[in-house]
Symmetry: C2
Subunit: 479 residues, 2 copies
């Protein structure tokens, strides 16, 4: 790391600003062969709807994927703002000389074969860094999988990003958790504002990412996947600084012998003892997640829900099992699930069938009424002042109705459209309650986004997780 | 509980035998109104493909959902083997008199309004139990949601069961976890052999279910969701007895004040201190799961994978992040992730690109080769004798390819069918390795069943969970 240079013509000093927002990109290593990574990355870059200019660079081909190709950046009519390098390690060093001479100042190096493969690779990485230093090139990687900026839009990875832009800024030492995880995140509507796969961090590192994400107003929570921190002092300062503006959540996996060995083979990271990282996270105000699932779920919740101002939680559902699971999990997590005052219970009872319960948990039991459990009762409870937040199980309904109508052997006329519309109306209003009351709601549902109500609340920032207990774990992070 | 009567004409003495396998069913409470539960249950009973006879009983209607309806069981030409009762509590008692007089010996009472609603309901429940005793009726419920026997097939709940029959026997105090959870389980190919929602357990209880499931050869693992145990001594004996034949996994949620209060409103269960249940589970050899997600994932894994004979686990993947997460999580769970012998590493290295790692974790890094990481290397490692089991991340591939082909703007001819076929062939063989080597494999993938390879391995009994860490948690239960 050589310190930061001030960028001309950019409001943000970070070297990442131009990497996430380039007006033109030179792509090295793409062709039309389906066996090379660069081919997929160029495919995705175009598929993402990137509005800037793309210049494939190739020693032989005159056209790649329908675009005019060039033999060298020197042949271009302009100096591209970013270079994407997916060729082998030796060639990458040579290309960096070419980039430097042409005046290209930003790059992403996907290529592996550097520090992660041992002594020889380490030498190559040093060489790459030296060429970059000579020409003032700032770069992400090597041995990374690229970046995604859905707001631009720009996707330089080999996996499609098919969601809308979101509020999470992800910086990861694993490219897999930036890209392969996308099909998983799609199932919960967990969206990126920006994501970077850091790779070996020969130049730009996680500290740069935290500093940059801290300033980005579209990013409401920062998610970190860490195999090892190279600049602990700067990391601490950057995390504290960003933490004053938005929450940070991190997974650290280098604390075990096997984890450290694996990380070293992966990105050449030098991992440290678990307790040291635990202490650093604590001092920096970073919430530590035990796994990647929690990292994403908690970041999403923190990005969209108001903080808890107290410890009292209400439970509302139309199902007794989840009511009990939620109450049990909440108390285990240190929350109070207070029995409501008689006055409040009386008001709730008017909307609950006699077989249900109005005490807290509120259990509607079987009822096809949606407005009471998912709108009127939550609002009544949150406005009562008797609790500080709420967990709800059972978002959805349209998909159940759909399933029934498909399986029936009779001739029933299911009012599917009306049902779906009604669900959407109720849940849309529910999703807005946290904003108006200042109190968080986290939900769960066994249904996924195949149910339009689930998709709707998730897209409105109301977390909806697959099991009751996961909703409680996320709620606990809002304290 | 009045002790068991010996059943005539049935190989199994349990009162549940006929409830799960009735040749004829009388249905009380079904109509064509979409606001009553019985309507949906009759709909599902027929939709499930139940081959027996169905007799809707209704005071007024002559035909219901296209079936001839009767005013009373006394009007039927035969004595139905089972009655499904979904009418209100008062009427249910009256119907039990009618059933008794007609000679019906088995029932499922869905109706709520009994013990779970307080003193008056408790009285009603006692009355129901007494009528049953008078006539020798054995029944599930009241306040339950029914049973599912996909092997018959028979589905008496209001939720569609759309999967094939499986190997899990589920007994639950929550109907939600039997039914609403189905859409969740469908996403992981977790299937029931039999499932019963126990409700208030006025007659048949969880002890009966464990005894019955213990004898059922189609059931390879028993999953229990417990709000409170009414017969602890018998529970212990039944669990030990069944546990000699197959594993039992249980969630207990009554151990907190809020959980106990909620359970009491839900099924009238009397919960006990958490430590007591912990001790009972330990003595009975029951694996305790912290949540419903784990209950299902662990039961599935135990039902299909051989037990671990040692503590050494190999990790194999094509992604560095999951490799590190898996190694870290395994060590935290008390496993050893041994570095392979030089000889084994040399053999693996022949199949791994130079940027990957052959040490353990095996990390293929980016590679479109599937056979090496998902077939040849796993087999080589498991046959080497250097480990006792294996965790793999990254099942799938077809869906990624599909996604790319959809997003591309060029004119690429993706060999989608060949790719999908190749994936399926490789993963089908992988799924059979545990059987041939006697060593368990548990896998994870961010892709779900939208990827045919994921669906395929799950259907072959190879667990594939959404995150690496969940695979490790499940593996830990195979010790």
């Amino acid at each position: 790391m050589t310190g930061k240079e001030v960028e001309m013509g950019s409001g943000n000093e970070s070297p990442l600003e131009q990497i996430f927002n380039p007006r033109s990109i030179a792509v090295f290593g793409a062709s039309e062969k389906l066996t090379t990574m660069g081919t997929y990355q160029l495919m995705n870059l175009r598929g993402s709807g990137y509005p800037g200019k793309i210049y494939p660079i190739h020693p032989k081909l005159a056209e790649i994927q329908g675009l005019q190709a060039y033999q060298s950046v020197a042949d271009l009519a302009e100096v591209p703002e970013l270079a994407l390098v997916t060729i082998n390690a030796e060639s990458a060093i040579r290309v960096f000389e070419e980039l430097g001479k042409a005046g290209v100042k930003r790059a992403i190096v996907i290529s592996g074969g550097f520090k992660e493969v041992g002594a020889e690779g380490r030498k190559r990485e040093q060489e790459l860094a030296e060429v970059a230093k000579k020409y003032g090139i700032r770069f992400v990687g090597p041995n990374c999988i690229g970046i995604i900026n859905p707001w631009y839009p720009l996707n330089l990875t080999m996996y499609p990003y098919r969601m809308k832009p979101g509020a999470i800024g992800l910086a990861s030492h694993s490219g897999t958790y930036v890209t392969q995880s996308l099909v998983y995140l799609e199932k919960f509507g967990i969206k990126y504002a920006k994501a970077v796969s850091l790779g070996n961090e020969a130049n730009i590192d996680i500290v740069d990412a935290i500093e940059y994400f801290g300033e980005d107003e579209k990013i409401k929570a920062i998610a970190l996947y860490i195999e090892g921190i190279r600049r602990p002092r700067e990391f601490l300062a950057a995390a504290k600084n960003a933490g004053a503006k938005k929450p940070l959540v991190a997974v650290y996996v280098g604390g075990t012998v096997a984890g450290a060995r694996s990380g070293s083979s992966h990105t050449g990271a030098m991992a440290g003892a678990d307790e040291i990282y635990e202490a650093v996270f604590k001092q920096a105000g970073i919430i530590r997640a035990p796994d990647v699932q929690s990292l994403f779920e908690w970041s999403f919740t923190l990005a969209h829900q108001p903080r808890l101002k107290g410890n009292r939680i209400a439970v509302c559902t139309n199902a007794g099992g989840p009511a009990t699971s939620l109450a049990d999990a909440l108390e285990r997590a240190g929350f109070i699930v207070p029995e409501f005052s008689p006055a409040l219970q009386d008001q709730i009872k008017k909307m609950v069938p006699p077989t249900g319960s109005a005490k807290n948990p509120v259990d509607m039991t079987y009822s096809i009424d949606l407005e009471a459990p998912y709108l009127k009762i939550p609002l009544l409870i949150l406005e009562s002042g008797e609790v500080d937040g709420m967990v709800i199980h059972g978002i959805g309904g349209g998909s159940w109705y759909q399933g029934l109508s498909e399986q029936q052997t009779g001739n029933f006329q299911f009012p599917l459209e009306e049902m779906s519309l009604w669900c959407d109306t109720v849940f849309q209003k529910l999703a807005k309650i946290p904003e108006t009351t200042g109190k968080p709601i986290v939900t769960s549902s066994f249904a996924g986004r195949e149910d339009s109500a689930v998709a709707l609340v998730q897209d409105l920032g109301l977390p909806c997780f697959p099991t009751p207990e996961r909703a409680v774990l996320a709620m606990a992070k809002l304290r």
